[in-house]
């Protein structure tokens, strides 16, 4: 009896997963526990093991496909077993698409002697160029003898992939169209009068669908903005003392641990203390109630190649600077290499986002739900400041605090932020 391999529900909030990579192909023998594929959840990449020993009989979804949790993605069983795969709407669509293609191909062949449905004749050079340019050989009119597509034919294709598709489906000879793009490249617009309404329908297709991490971030940001009434307050902080402190402490840390101390590390230390003193900011808004966290778990916003990831530094209130430096760096490294485990992404009570390294002065951060507050830190800039009637140069940074007004009032937020400023300007208060 064939067994279904389902898209697993990993984590409470997971609703769907994206298939990143199949490690096995249809027909492969699977050992129990062997890795079959890799998926992307809303938080992490995961490897899925085979639940059984058997042959991978059928694969139902491909790389890049998004599948809802608990839906089958493959079947495992004995060699030659029959599987009844439930009819889905997708298969019906693909049948239609195939029929369309069969209709257009006979007319598509050129002056050469290739018959309907026969193999495309192309020189090895033409095939290579087509591969490199991402051009479908069946779109090209063969210019060589015996109906052969030659390199020159491929090279002469100066059309966007969209234009090529339209041309293929509407049976338009691209070489007859004057291109309006760079180097006379044919764009879909150039085919408008020939292709009319079809262009609008197709335009949708050129939009890149949301998937993977991008999709997750999009959803979360949307939810956050929709649900939590954001209010934002800003404060300028004199970082001179903290600067001096950092200068002294970083070499010591480097010598001891081989790690540098960044402003972010110090900000985390400061926040940890401030949040202990202002528990109303160290909270999560859950199911119309507020959960005040007994630990300070600070989320650190990290920009990775795949998108925004927020690993959580648990128990910051109990850590000294050294521990924070070690753990924060570890989390950031893991985030960048896609090595975070689920627990490292959950349980945050507050988030810090630092765009200072990009020179940003200030910005309005969006709360990381279900937390109630987030601090955005900007760049530290030397600015003239009036002190005791004279102008002095100070290192100033702007902190922005966004908070969920359902859980936190303006006054509470202001007090909290002032306290953070105080700790930053007078680090001796950190004892």
């Amino acid at each position: 009896m064939a067994v279904e391999l389902l898209m697993p529900k990993m984590g409470m909030t997971m609703e769907e997963g994206t298939i990143i990579k199949w490690h096995k192909m249809e027909g492969d023998w699977l050992k129990k526990g062997e890795i079959v594929l890799e998926i992307q959840t809303d938080k992490v990449k995961m490897e899925i093991e085979s639940p059984e020993e058997g042959v991978l009989l059928k694969v139902l979804a491909g790389e890049g496909d998004v599948v809802p949790v608990n839906k089958p993605i493959a079947y495992i069983g004995e060699q030659g077993e029959e599987i009844a795969i439930p009819e889905t709407s997708e298969s019906a669509d693909s049948e239609v698409a195939v029929a369309e293609k069969a209709d257009t191909s006979p007319q598509q062949t050129a002056a050469g002697s290739s018959e309907p449905g026969s193999k495309i004749k192309a020189t090895p050079a033409a095939k290579r160029l087509a591969r490199e340019k991402g051009i479908d050989l069946s779109n090209i009119k063969p210019g060589g003898p015996n109906g052969r597509v030659i390199a020159a034919d491929v090279e002469s294709i100066k059309a966007t992939p969209l234009a090529q598709r339209i041309a293929q489906e509407k049976n338009i000879d691209l070489s007859e169209i004057k291109g309006s793009g760079v180097n006379e490249k044919v764009r879909s617009e150039d085919l408008e009068d020939k292709a009319d309404t079809f262009v609008e329908e197709i335009k949708e297709v050129s939009v890149q669908p949301l998937k993977g991490l991008r999709k997750v971030v999009a959803e979360r940001m949307s939810r956050s903005w929709d649900n939590a009434p954001h209010a934002s307050i800003n404060l300028e902080v004199d970082m001179s003392e903290m600067s001096r402190f950092r200068e002294k402490v970083s070499p010591v840390m480097e010598k001891k641990k081989g790690l540098k101390v960044s402003y972010n590390h110090l900000l985390i230390r400061v926040l940890a203390q401030a949040l202990k003193d202002h528990p109303e900011l160290n909270a999560r808004f859950i199911d119309n109630g507020i959960e005040y966290c007994d630990q300070v778990n600070i989320g650190i916003a990290v920009a990775t190649e795949d998108g925004l990831i927020v690993p959580v530094l648990h128990g910051a209130e109990l850590m000294d600077v050294e521990q924070i430096v070690v753990r924060a760096d570890e989390l950031i490294k893991k985030a960048r290499h896609g090595e975070l485990v689920l627990s490292e992404l959950e349980g945050g009570s507050f988030t810090i986002s630092n765009l200072g390294m990009y020179g940003i002065k200030s910005f309005t951060p969006i709360i990381n739900p279900p937390e109630v507050g987030i601090i955005g830190a900007g760049a530290i800039k030397e600015q003239p400041v009036v002190e005791n009637g004279t102008i002095v140069i100070k290192s100033i940074t702007t902190l922005s605090l966004s908070f969920d007004h359902r859980a936190v009032d303006g006054a509470q937020a202001a007090l909290f932020l002032s306290h953070v400023k105080e700790l930053l300007e007078e680090p001796f208060r950190l004892i």
């Binding site: 020189t123 090895p124 050079a125 033409a126 290579r128 060589g144 003898p145 030659i150 390199a151 020159a152």
Partner: protein
Amino acid sequence: MEEITYGQAVRDAMREEMYRDENVFLMGEDIGVYGGAFGITSGMLNEFGEERVRDTPISEAGFVGAGVGAAMVGMRPIVEIMFSDFVTMCFDQIVNQAAKIRYMLGGQVSVPLVIRTPGGSGTGAAAQHSQSLEALFAHIPGLKVVMPANAYDAKGLLKSAIRDDNPVLFFEHKLLYKKKVSVPKEDYTVPFGVADIKRSGGDVTIAATSIMVSRAQEAAEKLSNEGIECEVIDLRTLVPFDRETVVGSVKKTGRLVIVQEACKRGGFSSEVAAEIVESEAFDYLDAPIKRVAGKNIPIPYCIELEKAAVPQVEDIITDTKTVLY
């Protein structure tokens, strides 16, 4: 530098090597007083004496075999086979003895033997004196096969052959003996396994051997007037074969034409074509590989038929055009 003929180049190579190494000596029919059927050894008997320039009876098997034996015990014989067609008389000594002795004996001995012989047609010598048989020997492991196309390469390659510790088949061409080229006076060698790009071009690669190299060059000149730039490669040595140079050229031009005088069927150009198809150059071919070769017939006697039996300049031009589109 000096301008010398191909024949002179061959002679000078032998002379210089005989001075350089006392183990080098010559055997062949009529190479002594007569100076060789094509005059290549002319004057050498006087210069080196009859111990080192040995006229032999008409016994190819005997004296080529003797060459093998002498080579096994420390000599470096250069054996002349009067017409390359006569290699059939000593095929066993070359194929079963010279080529295999080192391998069969587990490396106990080497056979530094050079067999030099003129091949090719165009002198009205008819079927049994006009063949190009290099492919037979390119097929035998243990042998090296060399085909110089001009005096410079002939001298340098023959020296390399004499200094090589392996049995070498050195195919000269009767029609090239009188062709002159500038050649350095100092000692120089041309290495085996290195093809020579005789003319650069980006539109099509023409690989050729022996007399077909100059015909290909002539064809290239003419095609250049039509705006077609050919890259002419002289293969020089068939074994070892310089795959890299040909692959690099085909990747550049995308088209390959191979020219040989020998009959097309089973000729060395087939080997070159297969090597290219098996190489990374395959993905750069924009046209089928074209072999321009002798017809699959014995060489006829009368002039016009004799010419028609093998590729002429016009044939190379016509055939090259079939891959240019």
